[in-house]
Amino acid sequence: MAEVLVYVDHVDGAVRKPTLELLTLARRIGEPVAVALGSGAENTAATLAEHGAVKVLTHDASEYAEYLVVPKVDALQAAYEQVSPAAVLVPSSAEGKEIAARLALRIGSGIITDAVDLEAGDEGPVATQSVFAASFTTKSRVSKGTPVITVKPNSAAVEAAPAAGTVEALSVTFSEKATGTKVTGRTPRESTGRPELTEAAIVVSGGRGVGGAENFALIETLADSLGAAVGASRAAVDAGWYPHTNQVGQTGKSVSPQLYIATGISGAIQHRAGMQTSKTIVAINKDAEAPIFDLVDYGIVGDLFEVVPQLTEQIRARKG
């Protein structure tokens, strides 16, 4: 069976969920061979094997932390040359897309980004994408070279599928380009204890209607009752009420959770672009005419300062 390279996104050996989803999708088109780079790479093997990796190629070097992106491209290219895979899958993070793009160019292949589904096809893997603010769904394939495809979080359910997960050291020679951009400082983001926005199964977002930074506590409390991530509309972010890293929308993050709860958000096209593929959409807004109500599965026309606390209390009571 054809091998499929899967680029592993991990933090010190802890594999992030989108990579596990990729392994599920990779099994539809071949046998997953995972590539884990950097500090703790070897520690990813057990998790990757449990989710279907037949082989795990690992490599650590200080270059991965000291320089931007290119060392990882060199390593993925080395893995590509060693394996000659049928496809290369990379998580659709900002960095993942950059790594995938440079690899595609080097190996003379096309690239598809932000796939939301992947199937085997007669002429190679067929990727589903959601475009134009999710108003269209396209099916595309790479027509030249080995398909390089990046896949968005929440595109597949994570499935356990134990495989050999044999660990092999990858041999990497860094290119001259690898040391071009130095990382001179790194400040880890403070953990909120909440799930990462793009990976979360449930997202609770606040917008202009929240009215101020201090009121976001209400949104956070609701999110915590559901184990959800917190998002914000551009209006709320531009007003300085919530960090830009949590912005959902065209110029922020695009999310596709099982459940999206929009509170005090009118639903401008820029916001809809970032959340319209959510499976179930709920909105709470005072304005019955707000365009967000065109998208909802369930909407409450009402004051979020009344509805949200009551909802939070009900959720807590039900969860006991």
Partner: protein, 261 residues
Amino acid sequence: MSLRIVVTVKYVPDATGDRHFADDLTVDRDDVDGLLSELDEYAVEQALQIAEDADDAEVTVLTVGPEDAKDALRKALSMGADKAIHVEDDDLHGTDAIGTSLVLAKAIEKAGYDLVISGMASTDGTMGVVPALLAERLGVPQVTLLSEVSVEDGTVKGRRDGDAASEQLEASLPAVVSVTDQSGEARYPSFKGIMAAKKKPVESWDLSDLEIEAEEVGLEGAYTTVEAAAERPARTAGTIVKDEGEGGKQLAEFLASQKFI
């Protein structure tokens, strides 16, 4: 020595318009107004600020696109860019990201550059890969997704805010930079700027000027094929309830019925 800055910009269909596909599954540009991609305005802004801080600098805006794409160049010129290059050729219709990066890279090399600045992504394709592709093609450092950028003594520095960490980056020129919408509000063109823009030079190049063969670009040269595009079915109308004091409870009932709680 003069600092030569090239800003890559894209003319995109207005996101608030009714965007759809043409019969050949390329983006239909006839039925919806276009404009300078909002995220590229941030790139123009940072280029102008870097130029203002330099002793001697020149800002060139570059686009690849149909006749109407001149509107995007005109906007950037009216913001304050010095000159513009428009790469236009019938054979470019249907060019994908890999092909676009080829055309841009050749044009950037022909124009001459010390610094390339791009927006983080276009607002239509939203791939966000062109800056990385340009760096790979030009063989220069990529300093991308910056929320802060500065240039001094032949070095570009910036801050990249990722999910896990915020990183400080540094590279020697020449380099390719991309900036996010957090890099600083883009200026509005002044009346004076708009008038001045009309007199600024706009060069037009075609594929032969860049020594690119037609089959390297366009639909034929594309590395990806769109096999189908379907309008997403309208969502079935949801339940909308007016809060009469029990809204939170009703919503909790709904969430429970959907097994979210």
